[in-house]
Amino acid sequence: MTGLIWIVLLPLIGFVVNGLGRNVWSKTVVSLVGCGTVLASFLLSCNVFSMVYAARKVGEQASFSHTVFEWISAGSLHVNLSFLVDPLSAVMLLIITGIGFLIHLYSTAYMKHDKGFAKFFAYLNLFIFFMLLLVLGSNYVVMFIGWEGVGLCSYLLIGFWYHRIDYAAAAKKAFVMNRIGDLGFLLAIFLLFYNFGSLEFSAVLPKAATMVQGDTTLLLISLLLFVAATGKSAQIPLFTWLPDAMAGPTPVSALIHAATMVTAGIYLIARSNILFTLSPVTMEVVAIIGLATALLAAFIAVTQNDIKKVLAYSTVSQLGYMFLGLGVGAFTGAFFHVITHAFFKALLFLGAGSVIHAMSNEQDMRAMGGLKKKLPVTFLTMFIGTVAIAGIPPLAGFFSKDEILAHAFIQSKALWIGGFIGALFTAFYMFRMLFLTFYGKFRGTFEQEKHVHESPMAMTVPLMILAILSVIGGGLNLPEALGGSTALAQFLAPVFADSVALSEGFHLAHTTEFLLMGVSALAAIVMAIYAYVLYVRKAIVPGADHEKRKGLAQLSYHKFYIDEWYHAMITKPLNNLSTFCFKILDKKVIDGLVNYIGNGATRAGNVIRLLQQGNIGFYIFCMVIGIIALLAYGLYIV
């Protein structure tokens, strides 16, 4: 498995080469290095994947590990820098390197005029490196390296245009919020270590599988891991960083904040699925938080006007679906949604990037419109993406979302209804975005209109590939009800075997399943038509920012004032506490006490010197008294 090391190392080499030579290499060299390393990594990944696939074909577990060196050891703690390839990580490998490569390719054109071209590619390669570490790690600590590393790259790339202080602040916010989750991850690692004596997946997970359901330790571990996941995957209550993260260049939003990094939380839970399956309480929490996030984000997305913000909230919402899937035990379904979502969300972001590129960096949809003719490829691909995400058959999103919803239906009707409502919103706001952007009249400035052009090949080719994937992606795991073979489920079976054995299994009459599918597909189409009526027929354009909106719309437009809440509830009190601690507690109380004691000598001197008043009579008096006292002591007391 030496190829494995190269899969990881190649992007790192790309990072080093581009990073060190950022002022030396020409843009062509930088693009070649940047894309080349990732492409090579992708090809190697294909090789690894085919190995795993072949092994699965003959019914093996298909889990290969490779230790590079012992990293940390202290007492009974041994952490190896080691890799593990199994069906789950093999699929992730393909997504990361494959979509990563497409986005690299896209970026060569998108970032062409940026001064930080080489830096951008260096960061992107570094991201791929860390992401690969995350999915390939054979223990929780190596995973944690990747986990934090991608957070760093996200920080660097969100703050890529660091001269904008608000961008820099958004980057910091993302990093800090991620770190809150990371603390959960670390604590979970500690718990795992002390309860299982190891941090290797291959040691921990089988041991966990033998424990009883509802074990409190497992409950705590799984909750902490979920906290980690909420940070990285932008769930309530840590989701507000993701919309702000749109400050980064659009390819970054596509790669990091849609296709790969944000799904790390799902990967983490899928990887540790047995820990969750054995903690029903956590599963419920995961499902509820996931659904709540899905609904909240979808509701906010409905009124957003920034094309990237719409997509950002849509990402949060879709991630919520994935967690809903995990929470109801549909691990394959959730992971399936990770894959399809990677296709269509990357496509949508890249499409949005293409629009923004064409519109000279305009992101407000109110200033777009009528771009259908001018950007035909972008339009077509984005249309496919929209249909896919809206859950209209037979595109990818329909199948993956449907699988999650079907599982939710078995668990509880309420969850299904919630998910269904979210799906309605999704279809609506996605079509709203599509119609506002591409239909109607052009609403931008004359300058922009003159400038509008279809993007170059380097940008449209990735769009087309992703569009094709979005169309056929559903085929990966066709449900049995539709005569499919659930290929993905078969492939991933060893990973989820223990969990599947524990759950009651998936029992849903085909008729019910058809009915559910039909209802959600129909509803999505209805919502699409409703959006068409509003934004194309009636040609409604959302009002200006300051405009007062009615009731819920106001709430949605201002994102439920969550940022303001956080500011008032957390940031501000902490800042005040800091000022208080520094100015009062530190300076006055503690240091005051120290100085008070220090000044004790001076103060004592001040008191005693008063005796020294220069009156000789007094001195003599003291002397006499002293002598008498001494005599008295000598004569009577001793």
């Binding site: 220069g614 009156n615 000789i616 009579g617 003599i620 008096f621």
Partner: protein
């Protein structure tokens, strides 16, 4: 010689002790209460002499001459003290035009 000792021993020792205590106390009170430096000096002399008297008395009662030797030492010391003390007082008077002891309160704090 013997007669003088006898004479002295005619008076009980308690009387000597009482007398020198009274003289000593007068000296102490003088030092404490008077502000005139010369009187203070005199009071100091009184104290010294009361001790001398006591030493002489004990010496006579015990028939030990070393007490009287001490007296001589003290007298010599007192003479020296007066010499130096008066010289200081003269200097103080020249500087402050006063022999009030409270004029010398510069040595404080």
């Amino acid at each position: 010689m013997g007669t003088i000792v006898n004479e002295l021993q005619g008076i009980p020792l308690n009387h000597y002790i009482l007398l020198s205590s009274i003289i000593f106390s007068i000296g102490v009170i003088g030092v404490l209460t008077r502000r005139n430096v010369i009187i203070i000096m005199m009071s100091v002399e009184l104290m010294l002499n009361s001790v001398n008297l006591l030493l002489a008395a004990f010496s006579a009662y015990h028939g030990d001459a070393s007490g009287q030797v001490f007296v001589f030492f003290i007298m010599a010391l007192a003479a020296a003290e007066v010499a130096v003390g008066l010289a200081i007082i003269v200097m103080v008077y020249r500087n402050t035009k006063s022999i009030d002891i409270n004029a010398l309160n510069k040595l404080k704090w």
